[in-house]
């Protein structure tokens, strides 16, 4: 499954970069994220509870921020598995700033397996879009919070 899109943030490129590489913010914004633990530089273990249609379950997984080119781009590599199957994907995250606005572009490919593929596939791209929306909305909130904290 191909995923791509872009979101505009009210912040400088550096602010948005800091946000997108901050595990706490990521953990706050990721839908269903119960736990995010740093295991090395740019590497995290995650525990997520996600329901896709009738397929609900707990996933344990790993995230990695690879090939960082601050504050322009990085690659987010993730994989998770749980009783409903597995999810893995690689996404290019690109930041383009102008003045106090930054556009975050993502483009990636996600593979699902097991029950989620067999039962949820027809709904999965819709659900992925919804979850990404939730994620970016929360990230915007996080940015606002950190911005107001900083001012």
């Amino acid at each position: 499954m191909q995923l791509k899109g872009k979101y505009e943030f009210n912040g400088t490129q550096q602010q948005v970069w800091d946000l997108f590489t901050n595990p706490e913010s990521l953990a706050q914004a990721m839908p269903g994220c119960q736990e995010l633990r740093e295991t090395g530089p740019g590497k995290y273990d995650a525990l997520m509870k996600i329901g896709i249609a009738a397929v609900k379950g707990t996933y344990t997984g790993k995230f990695e921020i690879a090939d960082p080119d601050p504050p322009n781009r990085y690659q987010l590599i993730g994989e998770g598995s749980g009783s409903p199957g597995f999810v893995k994907g690689t996404t290019d995250i690109q930041l383009t700033g102008s003045n106090d606005k930054t556009i975050v572009t993502y483009q990636g490919e996600v593979q699902v397996g097991g029950l989620i593929a067999g039962v949820g596939q027809r709904m999965i791209s819709g659900i992925a879009k919804m979850m990404l929306n939730q994620f970016f909305k929360k990230m915007k909130k996080e940015l606002k919070a950190s911005g107001s904290a900083g001012s």
Binding site: G57, G85, G114, A117, G118, V119, Q121
Partner: protein
């Protein structure tokens, strides 16, 4: 054969004896079995299509209260052996993945717990580490030398490969005026029986014996396979199949690995273990028919005579190959040239493996794959010659006076009148009228098409066919196989009431009913009073390795055994009556439940007095006669012989005929198919019970319609199954099935006692291609090539779009 006119019950719409108990919920299925201290199993299945199993951590799951034990692939490897399979190098196929998974849904471990709920919860606590491997999903790619190899011990993904020549195909191809060829893709599609797989296994360590309830439909060859895998003598494994099975269609053949798996779970945990497959498991990982790629070419004379066929077919049995495969490729050997006088055939057969779920026979067992190519090709030949598709079939049909007809491949077609049945179907539809309608419609830009398929439906598999997977030289070194035996026992109690013990474990075919009708006619009694037990028990029943209900064999060999046993019993009754009346048996007449001397009605004895004497007054019997009243018959079909040195084999022992004539119209906007007219004509010999036959034929048509328009086990390119629920695996319901005129022509088979033969699989073989031919015919002006199924609206829409783009 008794005069059909004298039959009082056979051929009548006698109501099914089975229905009352089924309708009021009193059927007896495996899930109705409740045993003391019974525990429940759940199976963890692979989410990967191809991966190494690096580790299985069961510690958390074992701690869950109520969990009684966990069986993993390592246990299975230590406690059992791989299942044997009739290919030169079988893969190491165990009941559970060992070290490596090869399709999504493959069992990886079994949890036994106090309830299914606890067992399912425990599955979530098992950690399996996989290391994904490259996948191969395409049949032709799987056969390439650089494809990822599924089984190291085989070294390639080719499970079976043979070249076979019948007649002189090369010469026929030289003599041809025209060659017509095509490539045909048949999807992976299956059956969706209302009852899923079910097993209750119990191991007794005292006598080292398994008692296993299951819903396997036979044949009992799988009993041997499981015993071999478990490393035990067959008499240490008792199988019991309850009275009712909720549909089989071939799919239930695939329950045998689960019988072994749950048996091992019972042995390891020391518990009686029940496992009922859920629907998701069934759609994901039970068994489907094979998907097939066919390259077929016809050598044709200008007058429409088809001289020869070249056929290269590649079947896909998925991550492993297991019995009865490679039957998929060889089962239709005898009827490979269909309803036609085609005397030359060049065959290449290949069975390959990909990372898809495993296979089993699917109602019609690859005849739908075969006829999809043959009958599409016949239409293509007609189109090239400018002939009518009905005319080319009449041109090539076997003639009524040629029966019994031996095909180029060794099939012995018992009886038929294909012309008569086909003409009847054309008449019902009013074929010439619809050809005119089609012309008019085409001028208006509408897509009307007429689809025809005329096929030969094999019934009663001869077990010999499986050995054609080996070359004649390989066969000569092994043990020959042949036969299609069935067993029936009939007994009469001291009051003259009749009980029949069958071993056909039917899955809805109504054997109790038809057995009662047949026996009632043979003995001149009322069918209502006849009782039948069809509970299979390998300890208590007498059977042969071929026993069971598969390959539509009841109406042929089942009735042969029944009539034979009944006539033996009748013969004994005559002898006793004659002895008591001090006459010879041929002086007696049986009428109104009395024996009387011909022309002397007063000199008589009631059947129940004869029966009473056999039980109560044993010294009154003729000298040397066994006491009591029962008779058994275990017989095979006379044509069930091994293949000859030229690979010719009568792979089935009776052959029915079936044809479809279907008028469709395709909506140019939505590409939805509308059925204007549909005639389905059958010749399955003598009709035993028209009502039961109607149900069987209707079911078969519907199953075929599913294959034509809806059903496919679809996978994405990464090997994930996309159709693990009825939301995505579409089956036709009553809403999708149009009005169909079903008719019968009765040409009695000379090979069966009543002239009857199998009928329930025929339309499943003819409908997919007939619908495809109708759609191809509708879209012919656009030059659309129809060579795959299912023909979903989106597929047709794309084909029309592409064709229009090409024409523009």
């Amino acid at each position: 054969m008794p005069d059909p006119e004298a039959r009082r019950w056979v051929g009548k719409r006698y109501k099914r004896k089975e229905d009352l108990r089924l309708l009021i919920g009193e059927g007896k299925f495996v899930d109705d079995i409740q045993l003391p201290k019974m525990k429940h199993a759940a199976i963890i299945r692979s989410p990967y299509p191809h991966a190494l199993i690096k580790n299985i951590d069961t510690t958390q799951a074992e701690k869950l209260p109520g969990v009684r034990g966990i069986l993993t692939g390592q246990d299975v490897k230590e406690m059992s052996k791989p299942f044997p399979c009739g290919v030169p190098i079988p893969p190491k196929y165990y009941s559970c993945a060992v070290d490596k998974v090869r399709y999504v849904g493959e069992p990886v471990a079994v949890v036994v717990a106090d309830s299914r709920y606890i067992a399912e919860d425990a599955l979530d606590l098992i950690q399996v580490d996989y290391e994904p491997l490259p996948v191969v999903m395409d049949i032709e790619e799987a056969a390439e030398p650089d494809a990822p190899v599924l089984h190291d011990n085989i070294g390639s993904n080719i499970y079976s490969h043979r070249l076979m020549q019948y007649g002189e195909p090369a010469k026929a191809f030289e003599e041809a005026d025209l060659l017509v060829k095509g490539k045909f893709l048949f999807p992976k599609y299956g059956s969706t029986p209302i009852e899923t797989y079910a097993v209750v296994a119990s191991y007794n360590p005292v006598n080292q014996e398994f008692v296993i309830y299951n819903n396997y439909q036979g044949p009992f060859v799988n009993h041997s396979l499981v015993a071999l895998a478990l490393g035990i003598p067959e008499n240490k494994m008792r199988w019991i199949v309850p009275t009712d099975i909720g549909g089989g269609f071939g799919t239930k053949t695939g329950v045998f690995p689960y019988i072994a798996l749950i048996a091992l779970a019972s042995k390891k945990t020391g518990m009686t273990v029940k496992w009922i497959e859920d629907r998701r498991e069934h759609l994901l990982a039970s068994a489907t028919g094979t998907d097939r790629v066919t390259y077929m070419e016809a050598a044709v004379k200008r007058d429409g005579t088809i001289l020869a066929l070249k056929d290269k077919a590649m079947d896909n049995t998925g991550g492993y190959i297991r019995a009865p495969e490679p039957g998929c490729a060889y089962r239709s050997t005898g009827n490979h040239t269909g309803a036609y006088q085609i005397r030359h055939l060049d065959r290449e057969v290949m069975v390959v493996g990909t990372n898809k779920c495993l296979t089993s026979p699917n109602r019609g067992y690859t005849c739908q794959e075969l006829y999809f190519s043959v009958e599409r090709l016949v239409d293509m030949v007609a189109a090239q010659l400018g002939m009518d598709p009905a005319e080319i079939r009449f041109k090539n049909f076997i003639q009524p006076d040629q029966f019994p007809y031996t095909t180029a491949t060794g099939g012995i077609y018992d009886a038929g009148n294909y012309q008569k049945a086909f003409q009847k179907a054309l008449d019902i539809v009013d074929y010439p009228k619809w050809r005119q309608e089609q012309e008019k419609a085409r001028q208006q830009g509408r897509y009307i098409g007429i689809g025809i398929a005329t096929i030969v439906d094999p019934s009663v598999t001869n077990i010999a066919y499986v050995t054609t997977a080996l070359t004649p030289e390989q066969r000569a070194k092994g043990h020959p196989k042949s036969g299609s035996g069935e067993s029936m026992t009939i007994k009469m109690d001291p009051l003259g009431q009749v009980h029949v013990i069958a071993c056909t474990n039917p899955q809805g075919q109504g054997h109790e009913t038809v057995i009662s009708q047949i026996v009632a006619d043979e003995l001149g009694i009322d069918p209502d009073g006849i009782t039948v037990s069809n509970v299979v028990d390998t300890h208590d029943r007498v059977y042969t390795i071929t026993t069971g209900s598969y390959s539509s064999r009841f109406a042929s060999v089942g009735t042969n055994a029944l009539v034979n046993a009944t006539r033996k019993l009748k013969d004994k009754l005559f002898k006793i009556a004659a002895h008591l009346l001090e006459v010879s048996p041929d002086e007696l007449v049986l009428e109104n439940q009395k024996f009387h001397v011909k022309d002397q009605p007063e000199k008589s004895i009631a059947v129940r007095h004869v029966a009473g004497t056999a039980h109560w007054h044993q010294t009154a019997l003729p000298e040397g006669m066994d006491v009591g009243l029962f008779a058994s018959s275990l017989i095979t079909m006379p044509t069930s012989k091994p293949p000859d040195e030229l690979d010719r084999v009568d792979s089935s022992n009776t052959y029915g005929f079936c044809c479809e004539v279907i008028v469709v119209e395709i909506d140019p906007e939505t590409c939805e198919i509308k059925f204007h007219k549909w005639a389905s004509m059958h010749d399955s010999g003598t009709v035993l019970n028209p009502m039961i036959l109607e149900g069987q034929v209707m079911g078969s048509i519907t199953h075929g319609l599913g294959g034509a328009l809806y059903e496919e086990f679809a996978y994405d390119e990464n090997g994930q199954c996309l159709t693990a629920s009825f939301q995505d695996y579409l089956c036709p319901t009553s809403m999708e099935v149009p009005d169909i005129d079903i008719g019968h022509v009765e040409t009695p088979s000379p090979f069966t006692a009543l002239g009857s033969k199998g009928a329930g699989e025929a339309s499943c073989e003819s409908v997919p291609v007939a619908v495809a031919n109708a759609i191809a015919d509708a879209l012919a002006p656009l030059g659309v090539v129809i060579n795959e199924l299912p023909l979903t609206p989106s597929k047709i829409w794309h084909l029309i779009k592409e064709a229009k783009a090409k024409q523009a």
